[in-house]
Symmetry: C2
Subunit: 351 residues, 2 copies
């Protein structure tokens, strides 16, 4: 069957890469024979925990849109393939958040559930119900019994679905799993009155991890935030929280014409509040200048290993003062859609 | 000969496009017969003034990196194919600047010299000798007798070269051809002490205009500035004037760490000074928010004519507060290297 020869070829590519990059890896020929036998018998195969960890790390390394890849090799990989019950999926996601949060010293973590485990319907493990971006998820939660989501910045419950046709289960996130930071400004005491806040751990839960031909659709991962993601996009975008006008008003800016650069100034104040507040709260966060420098260090380090760094310029270059970041002024190795292992976008959790 | 059939095919494409888009164009079949005869006889052919004007305008419309294309159809096209002497080339370039400057109400203009006219060795008609970007041109000018360029912001002479092997002629730009704007800040009276200034008319002189298979290597064109080109790039880039630290010092910013966002704040002040000073001086300039809106209007208008708008995202999106401009949040028709008429980058003026 083409599907089987597809997975076998992908498995072979992956096992060869693993053997090439990891000197301690067992003999790839023997391992490939075992994998072929398992595919013949069952249609798929089971990664060893070491293969899984290597595969997840390389998937991060291959993420052409990610500026944070310098630390790809220290990703904490949780092998959670034994869990099948939605209650356990939810519990393990909460535990993921606790591990990743680590009292504020954030750690990059991925939790890999079995290929046929229930699916997460959330875009990220933590999202706010009044964020326009997740309006449909919030509706879905309410349709399945969730009572919250009336006020600002209420954390959405986790929605876990067993099969495409069953109703999702709703799980409120426990308080001790969600660290949040209320936003204040280092110089404007009135900033707090805007009532802005954001959560500490960005944990993407709507991508499929593919390793050696095996797809893991439930594999939430997190790094830490680069400040601009919150200050220049989540809180600023017109189709997200859209708070630039409110910030401008607080700072008394002249909003009569775009050429007063009130938006540009409000963005700086908002981004400064984000960086300041996370620092005060002791929560890991990088500014876009520093993260840009790290990314170039990553490229240099990869070059020493003879590896290209496929990169999507328009995603890597930060949305604030882009021309003044180190990553703006150069070209990169082109992204390669076919590169694996990878975290893949998908139309929906079951596609 | 392949070259002849190449130019003939390109001529045919162009003349058909011209007839399609311009209802008043003469019968394309008859025109193509004449063009074919001229190519057979001479190896090339001569555009009518109307063809030249149409071709130059469409070359602008096709410029995938240009955000300013809304006004492509009102480009002033100067047909200067009769001039061959370097003195005349220089004089006509000065006249170009006067026409484009128009007392501050800038007009988009292109000056098209004959395909075999002398070449301009300058990147733009106006450039400053202490701009690191044109260090080699400044050296060349000095090697050919230019005595200036010791102080800050001295305008480079025009360098006109008859053949690849002859020495270029140097022409100082007359004062009445170069409008400049000293930079001040709307709220910081000390800003003027930084001694910053910029010229009004960005006139690119190092690209080849190609229309219907005919190449015009001497065809300087100008629009007006978008403020960020000066405030976020020319005066800010580390390998250009690199003045962010000076601006930060003037405003008393804390430059101890990138996370204070001192660069981001200095950029806003510098960009504001640029927009403010040009407005005060009555010189046309667009801010990046407004120019972004215009570009989206351009796309809509082109769509009504059934035309795609090939666009290079990474060039179109402004380098300041990119996430808050209207052009950031979408995809575009892909650029097409083969699209003609076009302004083309080249390795050197004679290649
Ligand atoms: C360690 C700190 C990290 C930082 C600062 C960081 C930063 C970023 C940023 C700024 C983006 C663009 C997001 C957007 O514009 O929506 C991004 C995208 C991405 N990152 Fe990272 N990242 C980090 C860790 C990770 C980890 C641990 C993984 C996976 C194991 C990862 C995988 C990805 C992927 C797959 C994307 C593309 C997402 C998409 O297509 O929507 N990143 N990252
Ligand atoms: C009318 C106002 C105009 C504005 C505001 C404008 C704006 C811009 C900007 C911001 C860029 C990017 C420059 C850079 O980052 O280096 C650009 C590039 C370009 N523009 Fe325009 N432009 C205007 C008029 C024109 C005209 C009149 C032409 C030709 C007739 C033109 C042709 C081009 C081309 C060919 C490029 C690419 C240059 C390159 O590859 O280096 N533009 N424009």
């Amino acid at each position: 069957v083409p599907a089987r020869s597809g997975i076998l070829a992908a498995a072979q590519d992956f096992l060869e890469q693993y053997a090439r990059e990891v000197p301690a890896a067992p003999d790839p020929a023997a391992r490939l024979r075992a994998v072929r036998a398992e595919i013949d018998r069952t249609g798929s195969y089971t990664h060893t925990p070491d293969e899984l960890a290597f595969g997840a790390r390389v998937a991060w390394r291959n993420a052409a849109r990610c500026i944070g890849r310098l630390y790809w090799n220290s990703l904490i990989v949780r092998d959670l393939r034994q869990f099948r019950h939605p209650d356990d999926i939810a519990d393990q996601c909460f535990e993921h958040l606790r591990l990743a949060t680590n009292g504020g010293r954030l750690r990059p973590v991925v939790s890999v559930f079995a290929p046929d485990a229930p699916r997460l319907l959330n875009e990220q493990l933590v999202r706010y119900a009044d964020d326009p971006r997740v309006a449909r998820t919030a509706e879905l939660a309410r349709a399945h019994g969730w009572k919250g989501g009336e006020g600002p910045f209420e954390v959405l419950p986790l929605l876990v679905q067993r099969t495409p046709d069953t109703a999702p289960e709703c799980y409120e996130l426990p308080d001790d799993a969600v660290l949040e930071v209320p936003l204040t400004h280092p110089r404007h005491p009135g900033f707090g009155s805007l009532g802005l806040r954001w959560y500490a751990v960005p944990a993407v839960s709507d991508m499929t991890l593919e390793i050696g031909g095996v797809r893991y659709p439930t594999a939430p991962f997190n790094g830490w935030y680069m400040g601009t993601e919150i200050g220049s996009r989540n809180l600023a975008d017109a189709d997200r929280y859209d708070r630039l006008a409110a910030v401008a008003e607080l700072f008394g800016l002249d909003t009569a014409h775009p050429r007063t650069l009130w938006k540009d100034r409000a963005l700086v104040e908002l981004n400064l509040a984000v960086l300041h507040s996370f620092a005060e709260a002791g929560v890991t966060m990088a500014d876009h200048h520093t993260e840009s420098q790290r990314f170039l260090a990553h490229i240099e380090r990869e070059a020493r290993h003879g590896r290209p760094v496929p990169t999507d310029w328009s995603w890597i270059v930060p949305p604030l003062s882009s021309g003044s970041t180190a990553v703006f002024h150069r070209y990169y190795d082109a992204p390669d859609e076919a590169l694996r292992p990878a975290f893949l976008r998908r139309a929906d959790p079951w596609s």
